[in-house]
């Protein structure tokens, strides 16, 4: 599990680049913790692919496995890394143009 902000954001964006992993994360976000079997029943993804993706998502720290017997293990979304990635997106989405336009207008009026 990475600890610096760049590495965390990179893991989130790598995970989100794959449509199957997006579907798994979205299912955990909307439906709460679920087992690999629950996810395979709900999504058009095979159990084997789900097992592989959950391994990768766990390693990246985006989901955690709740303790339990094999096959009953439930996976839960970790929102902390998503919040870090959100900061990156927020910085990019910030609209700098309107405040600058307002400033220009204000200065023009004063001139």
């Amino acid at each position: 599990m990475p600890d610096d902000i760049e590495a965390i954001a990179e893991q989130v964006f790598t995970a989100l680049a794959d449509p199957s992993r997006r579907a798994i994360l979205a299912a955990l976000a909307s439906g709460g913790p679920a087992t690999a079997t629950d996810l395979a029943a709900r999504l058009p993804i095979t159990r084997q692919a789900i097992a592989k993706h959950l391994g990768l998502l766990t390693e990246a720290g985006l989901v955690t496995a709740e303790p339990g017997e094999r096959r009953r293990i439930r996976y839960r979304l970790r929102s902390a890394p998503m919040k870090v990635a959100q900061q990156f997106l927020a910085a990019l989405a910030r609209d700098w143009d309107s405040p600058l336009d307002a400033l220009k207008e204000h200065l023009d009026r004063g001139a």
């Binding site: 199957s20 058009p44 993804i45 095979t46 084997q48 097992a51 592989k52 391994g55 496995a65």
Partner: protein
């Protein structure tokens, strides 16, 4: 009707057949790029198994062992119950290609699947072999 029965995929690997063979046919190799844990009894009729931390596991039966050219196994089909006898057959063919290996995987037997499971399994394995062979190349390159 007429589902495609087979998936075929070829990759060029920058490593000789003996190394690729070890990655495909040993527990250590399989656990590094395919499963998270693996065991294998490498002889025709031998049992093999791969497991993942989420609890999913797949039982395999070794069918062809012609070192270092052909390795074949059958395995369970994920969307069918564990006791269902139907299997698909996976065959790896390794051909020397300069200093590397041309690896072909062919998986057959999808036509025996019921219609409701077919699409998910066939599409899943089509994507699956693309990503697995990528992981195999990554594993070989990293060593």
């Amino acid at each position: 009707m007429g589902f495609p029965d087979r998936i075929e995929r070829t990759v060029a690997l920058a490593h000789p057949p003996t190394r690729v063979w070890a990655a495909l046919t040993t527990a250590e190799g399989l656990a590094a790029w395919f499963g998270e844990e693996a065991d294998i009894d490498l002889r025709p009729g031998g049992a093999a198994r791969m497991r993942w931390a989420s609890g999913y596991s797949v039982e395999m039966r070794v069918e062809r062992v012609e070192e270092p050219e052909v390795f074949g196994f059958t395995w369970q089909i994920e969307e069918l119950p564990d006791d269902d006898p139907r299997r698909t057959y996976v065959e790896f063919t390794l051909e020397p290609d300069g200093a590397g290996t041309r690896l072909t995987v062919v998986e057959t037997g999808f036509a025996q699947l019921p219609e409701d499971a077919y699409r998910k399994v066939y599409d899943g394995h089509t994507q699956g072999w693309a990503s697995e062979l990528g992981e195999l190349a990554g594993y070989l390159d990293a060593r």
